[in-house]
């Protein structure tokens, strides 16, 4: 049976591609249903083709407001977590000092904790402090849980850096600031960028921690959550599709830039 033999030889490729299809299927559904004109409040069944949602993406109340709030929070959380996380990563890789083990576990723990536990405990803190829940409590929470991921991403990059490059810079009479800005930072940049991108994605998409600590403030994931009960506007699918397309474009652009750099670096 040649068919069976072919199947056996390509078993891994077939299984892998099936998994890939499983992963992309919902994105395709989201995309297709962004062109739907639903009958009623929910956008779960196909009715007929329409471009309405694409020509008027902010046509539903409050959705674009929640989207812009999520973008603001994600931006500030990325800046905060990347700055704090990069400093920690450098300290952990470059220096030997006491309490290093304890600090390593303090950074690992937030990643090894179910989100709902962190969310609930942070809320008890805010309630005890009498803090007003909203923008600031969300931002504080997001910086907290993004921090560990940034540290991990930057650490990986800094660990693979050759310290002799910095020694060479110092031998050539570069001051500490000059060495850092001209040598250290450019080499660490891909790690920092990866950490920042991860922080942005995590913050923008977070629901559980935000749900606990947002009070009456509504971020985009919370808007989507609410819409699952009230009725889902097609515009949600438009935003989802746009995010997917933008992400693919950003990754492809990043690939092109690194490829060009590699090519120009060649003698």
């Amino acid at each position: 049976m040649p068919v069976l033999r072919w199947l056996r030889r390509h078993l891994i490729v077939i299984a892998g591609l099936l998994t890939l299809a499983y992963m992309i299927l919902p994105n395709i559904v989201v995309m297709v249903f962004s062109f739907n004109k639903p009958n009623g409040r929910f956008n779960y069944a196909w009715q007929r083709f329409s471009l309405d949602a694409w020509t008027d993406p902010c046509g539903v109340a409050d959705m674009c407001g929640s989207l812009s709030l999520s973008l603001q929070i994600a931006t500030w959380a990325t800046i905060g977590a990347t700055a704090l996380g990069t400093m920690i990563a450098f300290a952990l890789v470059r220096y030997r000092f006491r309490a290093r083990g304890a600090i390593n576990s303090l950074i690992f723990l937030p990643m090894a904790m179910p989100e709902v536990v962190m969310a609930a405990s942070l809320l008890t803190l805010f309630l005890n402090m009498g803090a007003q829940l909203g923008f600031w409590t969300i931002l504080i929470a997001h910086i907290m849980f993004c921090l560990s991921f940034v540290v991990t991403a930057v650490k990986a990059r800094v660990m693979s850096m050759d310290p002799r490059l910095e020694e060479a810079a110092r031998d050539l009479y570069a001051g500490p600031v000059q060495t850092f800005v001209r040598v250290t930072l450019p080499i660490a940049a891909p790690g920092i960028a990866a950490g920042a991108l991860l922080a942005f994605a995590l913050s923008f998409d977070d629901f559980i921690i935000t749900n606990f600590n947002a009070g009456s403030t509504v971020t985009f994931p919370m808007y989507v959550w609410g819409s699952a009960q009230r009725g889902t506007p097609v515009q949600i699918n438009v935003i989802g599709t746009a995010m997917f397309v933008i992400a693919v474009l950003v990754v492809v652009a990043g690939q092109l830039i690194t490829n060009r750099r590699k090519n120009s670096a060649r003698p």
Binding site: V13, T19, P26, I103, V116, I143, N237
Partner: protein, 310 residues
Amino acid sequence: MTVTEAPPAPPQDPAELPVRKASTRKRLVPYWLLLPGILWLVVFFALPMVYQASTSVQTGSLEKGFEVTWHVQTYWDALSEYYPQFIRSLLYAGTATILCLLLGYPLAYLIAFKAGRWRNLVLVLVIAPFFTSFLIRTLAWKTILADGGAVVDVLNALHVLDVTSWLGWTENNRVLATPMAVVCGLTYNFLPFMILPLYTSLERIDGRLHEAAGDLYATPATTFLKVTFPLSMPGVVSGTLLTFIPASGDYVNAELLGSTDTKMVGSVIQTQFLRVLDYPMAAALSFILMAVVLLMVTVYIRRSGTEDLV
């Protein structure tokens, strides 16, 4: 950079002073780098845990206020009342983790060894779905698994649903609002967390080891079992942790794709905290979940022998 608060050095030979100052300055550098971030984690991660511990042994009500009375009974009440949700959470999360491993391994293997020049494209396809908000993607599963939809029709035609109904995974020839839908959603949502660590550890394996195994007359299956899989263990361990931990606390999938019979413990914590406002009960539940997960993770890491992972 301004460096202050260096402990005043005792008066010394003036020629020696600058050197000593510089070394003190240098010794303090890591602490200055760590200070803001670690302070953030202590205040907004560690301290809240202490507050939660104290809340869990309080009694009282919203109107009269809560007080620490060392009422440990709450923990017992939480367990005896909500043990089905606990067991269900661990069961669903465990099943989803195993499914993620079974589904994710071939794809990670494909990217690491077989994709060739398509490698970057496939990696993009693995990561990119991430960027459509995961709530939107989970809602899309409602459409995919809907009654009378293509998936349910095919499963019905193949009599798969008869078997799964008999096993208690589905009900009345429908998938939505059953355990199967919740596990399907969990598996889907956490797959990338399995694939990426697997891929990283597979990619590090030297391809010549496969050739060597082949030269020593190992069949492909033996090569996989004796060479590839053991060498990918770090990826398997971190992948299963990254899948199991968040899945055990998740309530989004259970709420959107399940029914009241598929509620997970995260759901209970959320309801107790945000709707019932029984803070001691919510805190106790969340502490039990944390303890169970940390215990399982510790045992698992010990047994799989990759303690240097942490």
